[in-house]
């Protein structure tokens, strides 16, 4: 293990300690989850701590091959960009709403009930990552929510699952991170958080986008509905 890896392990430990994260496999009282060699991890999104925490809980040997997807409009400049790309190995994407208009946008895209459908070009980088054998961490809601609910999913998750049907799609529920660092705040307030890693999903051959996305979203929504720890508004 070289110095850089050692520093990353130290940083991972620091992040999980700071977020008080208790990591457990679904349905257990604290058993460590299995992390497949390659996976598409997706989670509910409510805090800047989300992708940092998900990165930090990954086993050391998998960490270099996990690519969190982060929004370029927030992480894509200056120091934040060096941190996101240099340390957390993030892949920055331009979200549809603030991306410069490209010829691809002129083409009609399929709109679904599950929210806006991202343009194909946004996904190309992610499918390249999967083709290279690396894992992805994505937040299909597209933006941070209040923490106690899950918004409708964007279509990207379905497209990625279809692109690499053999790669397990692993749902991860993040609890309480939004209470540590909610949207709009800069100083975190210490609380204990939970990371629940669920059983992997696979997209069925003839499964519709709508069905798969609601199945995926349901896993997170059901978990969030159990022992909610009382946050309101």
């Amino acid at each position: 293990m070289n110095v850089k890896q050692l520093l990353k392990r130290g940083l991972s430990g620091l992040i999980t300690t700071a977020s008080g994260a208790r990591v457990r496999a679904e349905g257990t009282d604290g058993e460590a989850p299995d992390f497949p060699p390659q996976a598409i991890y997706f989670a509910n999104h409510s805090s800047h701590l989300d992708f940092v925490t998900l990165w930090a809980i990954m086993p050391a040997e998998l960490q270099p091959k996990v690519r969190p997807i982060a929004a370029a409009d927030y992480w894509g400049s200056g120091l934040k960009q060096s941190v996101a790309e240099g340390i957390f190995n993030a892949h920055l994407v331009h979200r549809y709403k603030d991306r410069a208009h490209t010829p691809a946008d002129a083409r009609p895209t399929r709109q679904t009930d599950s929210g806006s459908s991202p343009k194909t070009s946004q996904l190309t980088g992610m499918t390249d990552i999967l083709d290279a054998g690396d894992s992805l961490i994505i937040f299909p809601e597209g933006t941070r929510g209040p923490g106690d609910q899950v918004a409708t999913f964007q279509a990207g998750l379905y497209r990625l699952a279809q692109h690499a049907p053999e790669v397990p799609v692993v749902p991860v529920t993040l609890k309480n991170l939004s209470r540590i660092l909610p949207k709009g705040e800069t100083i975190p307030v210490p609380r204990l958080s939970q990371v629940i890693v669920h059983q992997p999903l696979f997209v069925d051959d003839d499964e519709s986008q709508e069905h798969f996305l609601s199945r995926a979203r349901g896993v997170l929504a059901d978990e969030l509905a159990t022992d909610a720890q009382g946050e309101t508004a």
Binding site: G20, N176, R179, E185, I187, V189, R191, Q229, T232, A233
Partner: protein, 329 residues
């Protein structure tokens, strides 16, 4: 004398070490005798004993370093306790900036006053200034929904996790008041309570923690009639009476580490153990209300920091003020 540890305290620590060695051997024998059976209770017992070793050694090391280390230790424990409390407290999103004050600023000032031996400021900072300031900050945030509940909840977090817990290290300053008077103690030098102050703190910690242990032991063996069945079925009259009396006897037997006579030590131990029991009962009510079993999982086998400190947080302020009232001028 090294740090705050003198020959008397060395004897006390040898005694504590002896009890832990004995407990470890007994648990190992039980483990061996019942191997292959379902033994979750035994596993929990082993975890608890291991955690006791860590806690006793940790306290010994900080005492070896000095009063500053003890104060920093309890500041850290207050911080961890607050984190557990805020995890289960249903605060609003709009309380966030108030909570930043609660967590990062007020505890540091509180423990700083303690470090300065500035009793007058320490005693009023939280009950006067912080308790008035926090709802003001909350009102400025503009969210009035459940305002009274939120203000009360935030004040309570501060009361239990910071103010009450900080009375444990405050006990170290009592000998200065006992020997030189309250006025001379104000702003006295760091560590001026010496080994005597550290022993007084250990007296409370040992007696109250043993009271918890013996309440558990008596309750498990003889317990039948719960004191408050809707709060906690595990807290029984048999456990309460057996545990408190056993720990009071131990407290009386430890008079030689205190400035008290044996019966004064016994009375103070009795009051402390009763307060400790009520502390556990109140914390159980909070946990039951919030639908959790423990405050966290920080200490293996014990639960969270607050699960271990609940009894001390209720007994320390009362012990401090009883001693200050009756033994200092």
């Amino acid at each position: 004398m090294i740090g705050l540890i003198d020959s008397t305290m060395l004897k006390l620590f040898i005694g504590i070490g002896g009890i832990l060695v004995l407990a470890t051997i007994v648990a190992a024998i039980l483990w061996f005798a019942k191997r292959g059976q379902d033994n979750s209770t035994l596993k929990n017992l082993n975890q608890r004993i291991a955690a006791w070793w860590v806690m006793a050694l940790g306290l010994a090391v900080t005492l070896l370093i000095g009063e500053t280390a003890v104060i920093v230790l309890f500041l850290g424990l207050s911080f961890l306790a607050l984190r557990e409390f805020l995890t289960i407290a249903p605060t609003h999103r709009s309380d966030h900036k108030t909570l930043v004050w609660l967590v990062y600023i007020i505890p540091v000032i509180n423990y700083w006053f303690l470090w300065e031996h500035w009793y007058g400021a320490f005693a009023v900072l939280i009950p006067v200034y912080a308790f008035l300031f926090l709802p003001i900050r909350n009102a400025l945030a503009g969210d009035t929904e459940n305002f009274l509940q939120r203000a009360a909840m935030i004040q309570w977090a501060l009361m239990v996790c910071v103010y009450a817990i900080s009375y444990i290290p405050a006990i170290m300053q009592l000998p200065v008041m006992i020997h030189n008077g309250r006025e001379a103690a104000e702003g006295s030098a760091l560590s001026s309570g010496g080994a005597e102050g550290a022993l007084l703190m250990l007296f409370l910690v040992v007696v109250v923690q043993l009271s918890d242990v013996f309440q558990y032991v008596w309750g498990k063996t003889l317990g039948k009639h719960p004191v408050a069945p809707s709060v906690s079925p595990n807290k029984t009259w048999e456990g309460l009476i057996g545990g408190v009396l056993t720990a009071t006897a131990i407290g009386a037997g430890l008079w030689w580490i205190t400035p008290f006579t044996w019966w004064q030590a016994a009375l103070l131990a009795l009051v402390s153990c009763l307060m400790g029991f009520f502390g556990g009962l109140v914390m159980s009510s909070i946990k039951r209300d919030r639908g959790v079993k423990d405050f966290g999982a920080t200490i293996a086998g014990h639960g969270g920091i607050m699960d271990r400190l609940d009894s001390l947080s209720f007994s320390a302020p009362v012990f401090f003020h009883l001693v200050r009232f009756f033994f200092t001028t």
